[in-house]
Amino acid sequence: MIPIDFDDLTADEVSRHFGRRRALSRISFQTRKGSILGLLGPNGAGKSTMLGVLATLLRASSGTIRYGTHTAGASGAALRSRIGILGHDLFLYPELTARENLAFFAGLYGAGDPQEAADVALQRSGLADRADDPVASFSRGMRQRVALERALIHAPRLVLLDEPFTGLDDASTAALVARLQGLRESEAIVVLATHDLDLAEGLLDTALFLRDGRLAEAVARPDSLRSTYRTIMRRTT
């Protein structure tokens, strides 16, 4: 598998429908490495679907996604090794310990020494002392931290996060924000879907407002997300 890398991510008229239901409708945007892109919108707007398409888990019904010069169809596994996703459902095995979860995924992503990679990840998550407890015994915030490290264990270029702030307390939220800013500094491309407009403010470089699968507005360097959001939602088109 030839390792690939990319500097930017381009979506070109991406649509996705499920039977008669249109989940995404002609969405286009572009983002570069070292930036955080936010997908904002109400429930059912298509944020999760967009993340699914970006993650190559879903195929777009029409339109293309370009990772630099590569596309999902052509590059397959090599591309997946550069993408990390933190889903709504966390993707952790509850019966396994934090260390085992991390080591398993590290091995799956081809790490040379999965145990060492797991140790490093545990340190970063701040949960090294609970490393050998089953994940089922963790609180939501702790599980989220392990899940985040799992998503990042292979140092992906593209990081996709689906509602990562749900159910987190203040300390965990601050830690996550710091982590995301760190990712931006290390030149990753971060795409973040969230409801939490207050948190997103100050964190996002670009904000995409989605509504009913359509791109209502794209704002660069957004500063007053809440009022922009309200304006967009009040529009009838």
Binding site: A77, D89, E95, E100, L108
Partner: protein, 224 residues
Amino acid sequence: MIKTAWLVLKKDLTVEVRSLEIAYTTLFFAISCVLFFAFALVKEGQAPEDGAAGILWIAIAFGGTLALGRTFERERQSETLRALLMAPAARPAIYVGKLLGIVALLVAAEIVLVPLVAFLFQAPLLSHPFWLSAVLLTGTIGFAAVGTLFSAMLVRARSRDVLLPVLLYPITVPVIIAGVRATAALLQPDVELALVRFWVALLIALDVVFVTLALWTFEPLMTD
């Protein structure tokens, strides 16, 4: 590829050993099956001819369906199957890892079921251990090969619990026929080894075809 399959298998076994939930419930269910059939079919203390072989395989099939459903339900819980598919690992390797896990589980159940059936039906199941093992192993692999593929496909489908038997049983009819006939042949007082060899050969051919087909179709079936 082998490394991925091994990782998945090790992970599955670790998860299972922690709680042993699927192992215990499948085993108990299979034993209940055996008893159920015993009550239904045994008359005056005698099972119908070849009854022991049939009951054994039915218990394996029903228990196997349950185990398959539960195993993939686990993967559905935290959407970990998606995480597996996201990894750059070759998708067929994931299939192989899961398949070996299911086979291991079923073989463990069979180790308990065979003596039980032999005991309850006074069937000399343990007279030819090598051949019986060959029959059970090849049959189990055939059943699990199709079952693992179909269960994985059904993870995101509706009505998945009832659809698994609907899909699985018609396709695995040859496995059951071969398994039961071969086992029954082994229970005869004078065993016709040529007959047993024939059925085992058929099962091996079937295993090869099914596993190959599954490896080939796993990728297109799992992509959305």
